[in-house]
């Protein structure tokens, strides 16, 4: 927060920090139930999701079929764990349901397909598909005169998929200023550290006619500000390149060597819960 920040902004960021901590504890609850999962990524997304679902999205649990709601597409379906956390924290699903994450027969699948769980707009998981669907959705909403915006959340690994750039070219060409893309850059992918360099992501999107800003994915005030600036952009799609730390909030999770899909010893969960509960919130 800057010294000039208004009381309202300070209150908002304080609220968001409490939401982010709650989201992390929901992520923990899911991973603990299964004993494994995309736990580190869930923690890494919590701050961005707190801002999205409790500030930025024109969306609420009682408007899940409202044609004018903002749409949120989880292109990186592997991060479903944080989407379920957000749906629980907003009251769309019961918090108790989180215990079934990834279990056989559970509605809370590892990839978040639309159907059983309300509030899931689209099937990610086959990586690199979200941005094109988001662009089509944004084009269709604009054509029908709707003010809703479309948010796509993708990982940095997805930047390597060619179809992402087909979509980026299309969105730039059609001036989709109701489209917001969030690229979560944690510098890891399934085989470890990024196996193929993706930078300069900012310049890549700018080359296709996008407005781009980079942000620390754990700086709540910075994220709020970045979304606000994106909102004021007209005549072009916008992209937030968010730099994140896998396992953010839990040194135990963050230090895992193979953090992409982690299995944690039963006795370590108490330690992680202690770490997450002790995360400072902004007051």
């Amino acid at each position: 927060m800057t010294h000039n920040a208004s009381v309202a902004e300070e209150d908002l960021v304080a609220e968001l920090s409490r939401r982010a901590r709650a989201l992390r504890l929901h992520v923990l609850r899911q991973a603990r139930g299964r004993g494994e999962g995309y736990f580190g990524q869930g923690l890494q997304c919590a701050d961005l999701f707190a801002v999205l679902f409790f500030s930025e999205l024109n969306w609420s649990p009682d408007r899940l079929t409202d044609p004018d709601r903002d749409r949120f597409l989880m292109s990186v379906g592997h991060y479903a764990i944080i989407l379920y956390a957000a749906l629980a924290e907003t009251g769309v699903i019961a918090v108790e349901q989180l215990d079934s994450y990834g279990a056989d027969g559970s509605a809370l699948s590892l990839g978040a397909e639309p159907g059983e769980v309300p509030g899931i707009e689209f099937a990610g998981g086959s990586l690199g598909q979200g941005l094109g669907v988001a662009a089509g959705l944004a084009w269709g909403l604009r054509r029908q005169g709707r003010s809703a915006r479309v948010f796509n959340y993708m990982s940095d690994g997805e930047v390597q998929e060619g179809a992402v750039w087909e979509a980026a070219m299309f969105a730039g060409h059609t001036h989709l200023d109701n489209l917001v893309n969030i690229v979560d850059v944690n510098r890891t992918q399934a085989d470890g550290d990024l196996v193929l360099e993706i930078e300069p992501v900012r310049a890549e999107y700018e080359a296709f006619g996008w407005w781009v800003t980079e942000v620390d994915g754990h700086d709540l005030a910075g994220i709020v500000d970045a979304f606000a600036r994106a909102r004021s952009v007209t005549d072009r799609p916008t992209c937030l390149v968010a730099h994140t730390q896998i396992g953010q909030g839990s040194p135990t999770a963050a230090s895992r060597e193979r953090a992409h899909f982690i299995r944690i010893r039963p006795d370590a969960w108490d330690q992680i819960e202690k770490e997450l509960s002790a995360m400072e919130t902004i007051e």
Binding site: P67, R71, E113, P114, E121, F122, A123, G125, S126, Q129, L131, G132, V133, A134, A135, G136, L137, A138, W139, G140, L141, R143, Q144, R146, V150, G162, A163, E166, A167, M169, F170, H173
Partner: protein, 342 residues
């Protein structure tokens, strides 16, 4: 390289599709079936729009684009994004009609079809043009596997009409269906097979076009015409061949297929596709599952990539001309009789 004119048989209306200069390339087509039906539907329904990947001119969208310039979304040469965008358009409440060559729409964009059309059961009409040997450019453009890929997918209807009349009716049915449909689209220059006034296409229904008790030919696409020609020649030799137009590959009309196969005891399948995974596959699976023992002789592409050349040339080199269908019919009858099946 244009198709030689054919004499209209009794199953054919007199009307032939108009010809155009670009058709000599084996790619363009008049708005004979699909294009006019699409325009008719779009006049009634605001939510219909067309999406293509730089092949609007070659998929009968020229007139549509002239009438509705703001309802044609051309995404450039990007078939994966085309299907992703179509999924998004459907999510927004619109009814996208997606066109490309069948080979690109399926091979290149299949994962997007799976995840963004079939899985969420969205109302998207996927139109794969110049299927099989209707495409004369060579292996890169010749879709001999599109029906197999689409038929293996849950939730999606798969259509392979036999001429421009059925193409038009199938287009309207697909637009009314309310879920995912993959429809192969002919060039429009093919001989008209079914009667424009009396024929009624229905999703999921195979249409018997000719009766005959000695052998049954299940056919689709341009092979329906070849099969009717074959039946004429067989008839001259005293062999009565039934011809059934199986234009819906999924859902499959098992009842009609079983009835005809059981009655004849000798079966030919004739398709504009690989004999693996398409019509021959569907017929064989159905007969096997129901214990109907009849030899099945397959006409189509036999485990090879199509050559380059005109459709008429490709019919000859791949054994897909009327004479080849007649040979297959005699073969099926011989196999049945040698086994002692009545």
């Amino acid at each position: 390289v244009s198709n030689p004119p054919r004499t209209a048989g009794k199953h054919r209306g007199a009307e032939q599709a108009a010809t155009g200069a670009a058709r000599a390339m084996g790619m363009d087509s008049a708005p004979a079936g699909f294009g006019t039906a699409l325009i008719a539907a779009a006049e009634q329904r605001e939510e219909i729009l067309a999406v293509t990947a730089d092949l609007g001119r070659y998929t009968e969208l020229t007139e549509f684009a002239r009438r509705y310039p703001d309802r044609l979304l051309n995404v450039g040469m990007a078939e994966q994004n085309m299907v992703a965008v179509a999924g998004g358009l459907a999510l927004s409440g619109l009814m996208p009609v997606v066109t490309s060559f069948a080979a690109f729409l399926t091979r290149r964009a299949q994962d997007f079809v799976v995840m963004q059309v079939a899985l969420p059961k969205l109302p998207v009409l996927l139109v794969g043009a110049v299927p099989g040997i209707c495409q004369t450019f060579g292996p890169s453009h010749a879709s001999i596997d599109d029906v197999a890929m689409m038929r293996a997918l849950p939730h999606i209807v798969v259509l392979d009409p036999c001429d421009s009349v059925e193409q038009g009716q199938a287009t309207l049915a697909a637009l009314d269906y309310g879920g995912p449909v993959y429809m192969r689209k002919l060039r429009g220059s093919e001989p008209v097979v079914v009667d424009r006034d009396s024929y009624r296409f229905e999703i999921g229904r195979a249409a018997p076009l000719r009766s005959g008790g000695d052998v049954v030919i299940f056919a689709s696409s341009i092979m329906v015409y070849e099969s009717l020609e074959a039946a004429d020649r067989l008839s001259a030799e005293g062999v009565a061949a039934a011809v059934v137009n199986v234009s819906t590959l999924k859902p499959f009309d098992e009842q009609t297929v079983l009835e005809h196969a059981a009655r004849a005891g000798a079966v030919v399948t004739a398709e504009n596709h690989s004999i693996r995974g398409g019509l021959c596959g569907a017929v064989s699976e159905t007969l096997a599952a129901h214990g109907v023992g009849a030899p099945v002789v397959a006409v189509g592409i036999h485990d090879e990539f199509p050559h380059f050349g005109s459709t008429e040339y490709l019919k000859r080199v791949h054994g897909m001309a009327a004479d080849d269908v007649a040979v297959a019919a005699r073969d099926a009858i011989a196999r049945r009789d040698n086994r002692g099946v009545p």
